[in-house]
């Protein structure tokens, strides 16, 4: 169980690193928020089968994010006003 928690933490950190480097803008903000909320919704789950299913979903989700970030970088476009202001304030 502790291994699973560490695994999940590592994946969450990976998503955060991707978000810093990526260009999906509002979609990445959505992805971060959704992943964080999903972690919080399922934090009390104890059934090992359910946990395994959720971890599998997390792995697939991370792989999807990585693929889509690559595609997004290939077709990068101008930033929106809000993204530009957010970048300036960082």
């Amino acid at each position: 169980m502790l291994c699973l928690v560490d695994d999940l933490k590592a994946r969450w950190l990976k998503i955060l690193k991707i978000s810093i480097s990526c260009c999906l803008g509002g979609m990445m903000t959505y992805a971060l928020r959704r992943v964080r909320d999903a972690f919080r919704e399922n934090r009390t789950v104890e059934d090992p089968k359910v946990v395994e299913e959720l971890v599998k979903r997390a792995r697939d989700g991370l792989a999807l994010i990585q693929r889509q970030v690559c595609i997004g970088k290939m077709f990068e476009i101008q930033k929106t006003v809000v993204e530009q202001e957010g970048k300036k304030s960082d």
Partner: protein
């Protein structure tokens, strides 16, 4: 007694109003003629910042999860799903049937009742013309509302030219139909009632369950254009007693160019197909089903089903944030449509004493709309706002804010801030606003032509 400056400004504004009224008469006479757009189209420069997207009713960006599901079928699995003799066809067919099930599950239907189309416009055309023509021997009356999408109204207009009788039901000031009036309008020879679930311009949600039960009790088929509703509010075609339902892919974060039509099997709804050919899609819509697009639609429906509650909660909170901030800072703002029976993500506000197109031009950093994308080229005020009885001046001052899955708090706050700033600036320039500030009742003024 008015002073010279004010009377000069009055004359200028009266000329503007007179010329506008004359141009309304002109456009009413010649509806086919395309009107010149006030906002000129141009491409963004490379270094120019993109506007924020707040027009989710016009279309939605494709969810990355949908694109991820589609890509294998664009690149590797390119078989024709109707090919029966090799693996390319079989795998394509399997994917298409999986997508069909995903669409069906979202609306509580059987997969055999889902027909893939090119979009909600085709689905609407198929339902209305198909049902009307199939049953025309015994029934030739159709009922719809005045606030339907253009494709529904236009389909009804074509049927009128073919000899059908069509009743366009008016709506109340809040955009909802009167159930009693609908009941009284249904006749023994009515074949179809078509009423949209959620309006694309004002976001009003019709009482579909009550309408469905009424139609079922009177043995009339019920079609609903659910393009703006599917994936955003819970839908069950059996609870609602809906016989036909139109679904659009690009309104639910799916690809453009694909949609679906739900056609009930029990009790059976027969329709005359619009498109004939190889007999695909149970003979109702011949043509090769575009597997990547169908897979995309299926994925979009699947994601929508999982995220429905989460998205609805978030969109409601963002919409409330937008409306409360604007209405608390600016007086004389009217929300069009019923405040309770609505989808929160579609907010249509009228800013009195400000011209809608001028406000859109001033808000160049935000992608907004003053009405339906399908009718945005016209200078005429929205027919939907006319139908709900909005004053002509308020109808010209309306802006539609669309909030969706990917909208952030920063985007809403930026939009609100700019909107408040620009409305105040435009009102400062408006002689009508000045007159209102001085306590003059504009409705008591008799405007004359010179």
């Amino acid at each position: 007694m008015m002073n010279r400056t004010l009377s000069r400004k009055l004359l200028v504004s009266m000329c503007g109003i007179c010329s506008r009224r004359l141009s309304f008469a002109q456009s009413a006479v010649n509806t086919v003629q395309k009107q010149k757009e006030l906002i000129k189209s141009r491409e963004l420069e490379k270094d120019e910042l993109r506007p924020l997207y707040m027009d989710f009713q016009a279309t939605t960006p494709m969810d990355p999860r949908v694109l991820d599901a589609m890509l294998p079928f664009q690149v590797n699995y390119y078989g024709n799903p109707h090919s029966r003799t090799h693996a390319y066809g079989w795998e394509s067919e399997t994917a298409m049937e999986k997508a069909r099930k995903q669409v069906a599950d979202l609306i509580g239907a059987d997969p055999r009742e889902i027909v893939f189309t090119s979009g909600a416009t085709e689905s609407n055309n198929m339902s209305i013309k198909g049902v009307a023509r199939f049953y025309k021997a015994k029934k030739n009356h159709i009922i719809t509302t005045q606030t339907e999408h253009k494709c529904v109204l236009d389909s009804c207009r074509i049927l009128e030219a073919e000899g059908f009788e069509v009743t366009y039901l008016p709506v109340k000031n809040n955009g909802l139909i009167d159930l009693k009036q609908l009941q009284e309008t249904i006749r023994p020879y009515t074949s179809l009632v078509s009423i949209m679930t959620v309006n694309n311009e004002i976001g009003v949600k019709q009482p579909i369950k009550e309408i469905g039960h009424l139609c079922r009790s009177r043995n009339v088929f019920f079609h609903t254009d659910a393009a703006q509703a599917v994936g955003k509010i819970p839908i069950n075609v059996n609870d609602w007693k809906v016989d036909l339902m139109s679904i659009s892919g690009h309104k639910i974060y799916g690809p453009k160019g694909v949609g679906a039509l739900y056609v009930r099997r029990r009790p059976r709804v027969r329709i005359e197909p619009l498109q004939n050919g190889g007999g695909q899609e149970r003979g109702l819509r011949s043509g090769t089903v575009p597997t990547p697009l169908a897979v995309g639609l299926g994925a979009a429906c699947d994601i929508a089903q999982q995220e429905l509650e989460y998205d609805h909660k978030r969109v409601t909170s963002l919409a409330n944030r937008l409306v409360q901030k604007i209405m608390s800072e600016i007086p004389d703002v009217v929300m069009n449509g019923d405040p309770d029976q609505r989808y929160p993500g579609c907010v249509n506000l009228s800013f009195a004493y400000v011209e809608g197109e001028s406000l859109l031009m001033a808000l160049k950093d935000v992608a907004l709309s003053s009405g339906s994308a399908c009718t945005s080229a016209s200078l005429e005020p929205s027919y939907v706002l006319r139908a709900i009885g909005a004053d002509e001046d308020l109808a010209h001052s309306s802006i539609r804010f669309g909030i969706g899955r990917f909208t952030t708090e920063e985007e809403v706050d930026y939009t609100v801030e700019k909107c408040i700033q620009q409305v105040k600036r435009l009102r400062e320039m408006s002689p009508l606003w000045e007159m209102v500030q001085e306590g003059i009742d504009l409705k008591s003024i008799k405007w004359t032509q010179h």
